[in-house]
Symmetry: D2
Subunit: 336 residues, 4 copies
């Protein structure tokens, strides 16, 4: 970390700063220039709060040289992490997986039918929402515990491991037989939840927040990994921008960029990113081409009638077509 | 709600849509134009998912005419809500309050000293963070239960009611003697937490999320109010934009605009919004002038040494100066 | 266009509004609902200012049903436009072109050498900046007229048609032998320039503005097309968001979405979008996979030494590698 | 400027970089740390392209210590600039001015009537649009030369100096008798226009671009000032964000922050920033309280009928009320 001091800094404040930095075990290398003094901080600066130093009267600017994340940093772990979901189903390091299923679990019939269909089309994991984060308190909040039970039936029925979203620590006991626990975009910085998931022996699918930087996404993954859980899958699902033609703006450059920053696998969710069913196919193809380790796609057996999650859903037939296109692009996708 | 259909909509899908809308108790008024058919939905559309209808093949566009929020809507509650914190300390409807105190609780000495100072300067409520949401798992996470105890000491010591942030439902028992429970920006859409706070008999200070629209802020307040808790204070604290010169972009137009949308009181937090100590004073003045019902300001007894939260903090002396300026502007502030 | 009126609108104002709308040749269809009156405007509403109606006291909300763009609208021109640059070099409707070359023209040697290299690798057009829009008045502003001359030499030398950016109407005479005139992101809403380009018999490459919506991009193309010039190529080059890890956020979903909105060809510029050389390759592959009609890529013969435009440039060797990957992905790219 | 190199940088590239920096007259101070080497650049780095250095393979990161702007920098010109418009009408350094008038010039009657009204209410300058930048080619583009003539009549009639927007260099001869030339938000980075305005002996009102940072705004002012024209007035008019409840997000913290960065006067345009007539008053009050040197407000004599610019306009009566409130807040406004 580099701290550039203002001209003629108050000496008392400078001493306080130096003393405080030393108390955190950091070495300090002072370099006096013509019009400004630069302090180079040597040692582990990951717990140093940059904003705070930046706010001091005597400081002109602060710049991090080392990344604030450690466990998730590719520098210290050059090989791709391969997350094993269940024996035979892995993601990362060349293992590509498509996670598919309905937005919300609605009925036993729906959940089992769709599972069968997506499995047939080539999906490796099954998704479905039991707990649903909804902007409105008057909107359907999901089938909750009952929904988890139906997902487990679908799992047994289809043999596909299941992924579903947790919304609160207190619900975790219900997730005992779930294969992958999803943290939604709105919970990416629910730090108490992240800490708890650090102590769990299950893969975590961590979605990027609506207005989170890639570094913040990695810091949230670092929360989980610092607790001991190393099986994390990152998910790019679009960010909020001024453009309203799509629900969010899918940031596909995040895929190859994250791959240089971290060793964790990255999947892309074109359904939520765009919010428009006919954009799911081109964006699934593009995400695969950009080097994603997998996709997360909403599939519903009757988009026109089942209005509860239709907006971004494909029919099983349309999904099977997407899978064919994705398979075709995989051999020529970016490999890094 | 108005639904504009595409030309020559599929009749089967149209019937499905109409049946589904009727099943929710809505009346439908069809109006056939030259090149498009418009459906007007009559009745309570607050639980209707617009995105979903918008995603249907046969739909060109959907537009809400009624707001999706009810309890917090000024239309149905024209008078300002006055939230009584403790007898004699109210906010809203002409009652203006300044909430001041350190970002983090650090020690008994600090917490009591600052409380005394801000009270002397005219603050009506005392704030301090016991549970701290931090981007990095390696940063100080707050004194937690111990911090709450110290705040309660400061309350007894100074007589000021206290405001502090909750980060998880499971911590709520610790908040029994806290006067106002704060929901931080990152938890604005932690819907399970909001539901729980709807059943609590305490004022809630609800901060706007980093990338939340005003409508989303009101929908989160609606979650709390739908549960029965009507004592909600909204807080504008800056939104995330492309501009990096300030930590966030303070959206002051939100104050008079929210006042037309809702009857709830609105406070402004210039400390977090700007992240720069010397901008707290002008923005406190401007927020007051814009008609805010109160302010939330960080005050620390030793910004230079106590680095743990210095970035946006004022000294007690600087805070007293801000209070004088704010008092001077109040008589000429916008009244609506 | 649909205008939703407020309850009990002022009758005088309503009459004014109706009279004004009729004066523009619009038919009006009134539909009185329970709590609001809806006016449907029939006829050509493309010149009606929505914001303005929206601002009237008596108006609750306005919603456009028809798009405000006509000539560029795919609805009225279902076939893909094929823009012929020179005989044998076309773009759109299945014709894919890569535009490559240095950011700035620097010397005869550079400009001819790079032209030869990119031609060998498969580029169909040659780009180079003679007039350079630079944030700082102290930065290199391009070789200007001299730069245009060097580009024309490179054209003669290599046989590749050339693309270069115009910054002001007064420079247009210098562009007489240029094959494609580029409008940069900062000039996308330089309406006087757009009008002028509407009267020119040359293809225009129109880049999306840093904070322009897709609809605004199309409206700018409409300016050119309304003047009679139908040879327009759109260019997605990243938008400005809160994320600072890349220079801009490449909005690849814009490619398939624009294809449904307009018949014009769309190219993608991964160099400017990301600002990071090692992201050019994955994003070139992804853009091709998403169905782009072409790419625009910066290539420099000595990125390490020639610092004037190195940031996002590839070497000719790296570019040849990108071309191979792009060629491999084309057969399996999204076709719509 | 500080350049942090990567570990074990390629020596040939490092030599190239050093040679290039020296060729620009910069001194270099190398400081070798444990895991990285830091180069401090000494001298005038304002013409050094940071992005470019940042993009080199051997560079980890670059950080500017000095601001890239010089003439507009308050560091080198600590006193407030006072821009004299005409004798007796100045702005900056304690001189506060309100610029008022219609969005578009429509007729002699309108333009003279409004001028008289705003003068009576206390406006010091008169504004009106003759050339109108419109998103749609089908929308009213302004009365152009005829509009300028009408404004000059209003000037003679009322005695108020006039402000109007230029859209292209070629129109400048028409502006000979205009008092202040406005550069609109969409032209803030029309660098050829800015250069031309640097050679003109008239005050320039420079509006912030929709997605421009404060530093970019200052760099555009630097373009004008580098040409010799020192009479520049900056204008904050809202930035584009994800929030759609207001047309733009008014960034009021920009006012006190710009005052620390530059000596130039700053006015605020609450009409365009919010796009909502009833927000003009509170935001005019708040902007004044935040320390703005003036305001720019749209006033129209018949907002309900004259639809051409109604959205954000006040009636003369409403404007007179705003003036009273602004006058009341001035004595207690932030002074820096």
């Amino acid at each position: 970390m580099i701290v550039v001091l203002k001209d003629n800094p108050d000496q008392k404040q400078l001493e306080n700063l130096v003393a405080w930095l030393k108390s955190m075990g950091l070495g300090i290398h002072m370099s006096e220039g013509q019009s400004s003094t630069i302090m180079g901080l040597i040692g582990d600066t990951s717990s140093v709060d940059m904003d705070l130093i930046n706010a001091l009267d005597i400081v002109e600017t602060v710049k991090r040289v080392q990344e604030p994340y450690k466990n998730v940093n590719r520098k210290f772990h050059p090989e791709d992490t391969v997350v094993e979901i269940v024996p035979g189903v892995s993601i990362g390091g060349g293992n590509f997986q498509v996670i598919a299923g309905p937005c919300s679990v609605e009925s036993e019939e729906q959940v089992c039918e769709v599972a069968e269909e997506v499995k047939k089309a080539g999906a490796g994991l099954y998704r479905g929402g039991a707990f649903k984060p909804r902007t409105s308190p008057y909107a359907f909040q999901g089938m909750r515990d009952e929904g988890i039970k139906l997902l487990l039936e679908a799992k047994e029925h289809s043999g596909l491991p299941i992924v579903t979203e947790v919304m609160d620590i207190s619900h975790l006991p219900l997730f005992e037989n779930v294969d992958v626990i999803q943290v939604g975009a709105r919970n990416m910085q629910n730090f108490e939840l992240l800490k708890e998931l650090g102590h769990i022996d299950k893969p975590i699918l961590l979605k990027r927040g609506l207005s989170s930087t890639l570094q913040e996404l990695l810091m949230s993954a670092e929360y989980i990994m610092a607790g001991g859980n190393e099986r994390i899958i990152l998910c790019e699902r679009g960010i909020r921008t001024f453009e309203t033609a799509t629900r969010n703006t899918l940031d596909l450059a995040a895929v190859p960029l994250l791959k240089t920053m971290t060793h964790l696998p990255i999947v892309v969710d074109p359904s939520h990113a765009t919010g428009i069913a006919h954009l799911v196919k081109p964006m699934a193809i593009a995400a695969t081409a950009a080097g994603a380790d997998g996709l997360m796609i909403e599939v519903h057996n009757n988009p026109a009638a089942a209005l509860c999650d239709g907006a971004q859903s494909l029919t099983p037939t349309a999904f099977a077509d997407v899978m064919k296109c994705v398979d075709a692009v995989r051999p020529v996708a970016y490999k890094g």
